[in-house]
């Protein structure tokens, strides 16, 4: 019987939530890596048992974890006891070694001066669509890395930082590659989004990148509102059937492109606030999208204390509030950029996690919601695997 496995990263560990296709009764396992910040957990689309996790700590730095059994057991790649006697000699313990390639260079600092790139953590892991051993990793300070040996070693695709990286500047939350989208119809095309630099695209597998921010306007954040780079893009999303169509939740504004990012137009429409973090596309309806409006950049909580997911079935502009099952008073949580996901069951399931530790599911594409669990640590990321 089919089911779902929800992978939740939190401030204090990872949790795995399992249910059958009805998505009514849930088993919660965890915390995995208790006490560590888990920025992201994501499974391979090729082999659902292969899952990668980004585990970080202000004390001990970055750890990459890998599971080969659907999250039951984990091991940092390249460090297992078996490898102590393996044909490749001693394990190198390099799965957490993220080195910027070549001359490290500088980016713009908060005060406008130039500042050297410094690796802090991995925000996002994006497994390849075709190979479980290949994964892309989005880093703070902003860079993209790739492993082709299952996470044992990582190498930067440094062409990204040559796309005007000297002009990128961190926001209050840091400067990170937080979104990586692989084009399912063109293996050479990858999109990334960076706070606060914008959106970028490669058409040659990651060698060269270009900013794709035409149409974004940042009147309150940039001296030139139409600057080529510097926009605080919070999240982008794509439906795999239409890889040239992307949706964006920017610091302010919800936008879409129908031209693979060559130009964007605003589709905020009747949203009560067009500030927010996540944006998600329905698994079966490419024009159905979801956002969670937040009051403002100064008040990171839902307007009026009402937690509302907004759905557009027209690819933007016309939005409806989805409230059934969600708290409609005294709710002051946030939903972070990587904390929303959709399964591919019928009807499509939508999931999101909050900074208050709730993980909500809608098994009817947003019409009604239930809390899977209410008291986790602050949720940083939510992914879902649809299991056969």
């Amino acid at each position: 019987m089919s089911g779902v496995r929800v992978l939740v990263g939190t401030r204090k560990g990872a949790f795995i939530l399992n249910a059958d296709a009805k998505r009514q009764h849930w088993e919660v396992s965890g915390p995995h890596f208790a006490g560590w910040e888990i920025y992201h957990v994501k499974g391979s689309p090729v082999d659902a048992n292969v899952i990668y996790a980004s585990q970080t700590s202000g004390w001990f730095g970055q750890i990459i974890q890998r599971s080969n059994d659907g999250g039951k057991t984990w091991q940092p790649p390249g460090t297992s006891p078996e490898e102590l006697m393996g044909p490749d000699g001693m394990p190198k313990g390099q799965s957490n070694m993220f080195l910027y390639q070549g001359e490290v260079g500088t980016h713009k600092w908060y005060d406008g001066t130039q500042h050297p790139w410094e690796f802090k953590r991995i925000w996002h892991l994006e497994p390849s669509l075709t190979d479980p051993e290949t994964v892309y990793a989005g880093a703070e300070d902003a860079a993209i890395f790739r492993t082709q040996d299952g996470g044992k070693t990582w190498h930067e695709l440094d062409g990204l930082r040559r796309a005007k990286g000297q002009l990128w500047q961190p926001g209050a939350g840091g400067m990170a590659v937080h979104t990586i989208i692989l084009d399912p119809k063109n293996s050479q095309r990858i999109y990334v989004a960076i706070s606060a630099a914008g959106t970028f695209r490669t058409d040659d597998g990651g060698m060269t990148w270009k900013p794709i921010n035409r149409g974004l306007k940042s009147q309150s954040e940039l001296p030139d509102p139409d600057a080529e780079v510097g926009h605080c893009v919070h999240r982008i999303a794509m439906h795999p059937d239409r890889p040239d169509v992307l949706f964006m939740q920017k610091h302010w504004d919800v936008l879409r492109t129908d031209t693979a990012g060559e130009s964007w137009r605003e589709v905020s429409g009747n949203l009560p606030s067009d500030f927010g973090f996540p944006i998600q596309v329905h698994a079966h309806e490419p024009e159905t999208i979801y956002v969670v409006p937040i009051k403002s950049d100064s008040e990171h909580f839902p307007p009026e204390g009402k937690l509302r997911v907004y759905r557009s079935r027209a690819g933007g502009n016309e939005w409806e509030a989805l409230t059934k099952g969600l708290p409609q008073k005294d709710c002051y949580v946030n939903v972070l950029r990587d904390a929303m996901a959709a399964d591919s069951l019928e009807p499509c399931g939508i999931y999101f996690g909050t900074t208050g530790g709730q993980v909500y599911v809608s098994a009817d594409h947003g019409d009604s919601w239930n809390a899977i669990t209410r008291d986790l640590p602050a949720v940083l990321s939510v992914e879902v695997q649809t299991l056969p």
Binding site: S57, T79, K92, G93, L99
Partner: protein, 98 residues
């Protein structure tokens, strides 16, 4: 035999319950201890000191015989009580409050 006490999260990462015991050739220095530790537990590489510069991570301290030796040269010999295993070499994470 050198005794090394790790902070909780590194014990979990290395999957050890208690102090780690390591063979370290004399002179026993911080660098020699860390190299032996990382060779035995590769998962700890990068968690105590930087992979490339080998500099101690900012929120890590090294204690030996009730002395903070974090700022001493990693080539400085550690006390005999550490070298002969009478006292453990302590790797400490900064306190977290709130």
């Amino acid at each position: 035999m050198i005794r090394v006490a790790l902070p909780f999260h590194l014990r979990t990462l290395a999957r050890v319950d208690d102090e780690v015991r390591l063979e370290v050739a004399r002179p026993v220095t911080v660098r020699a201890v860390l190299e032996a530790l990382e060779a035995r537990y590769p998962v700890l590489r990068g968690t105590i000191r930087d992979h490339v510069t080998l500099r101690r991570r900012p929120f890590i301290r090294f204690f030996a015989c009730k002395e903070d030796v974090s700022l001493e040269s990693p080539e400085t010999p550690l006390p005999d009580a550490i070298a002969n295993g009478a006292e453990p070499f302590l790797i400490i994470g900064a306190m977290a409050g709130g």
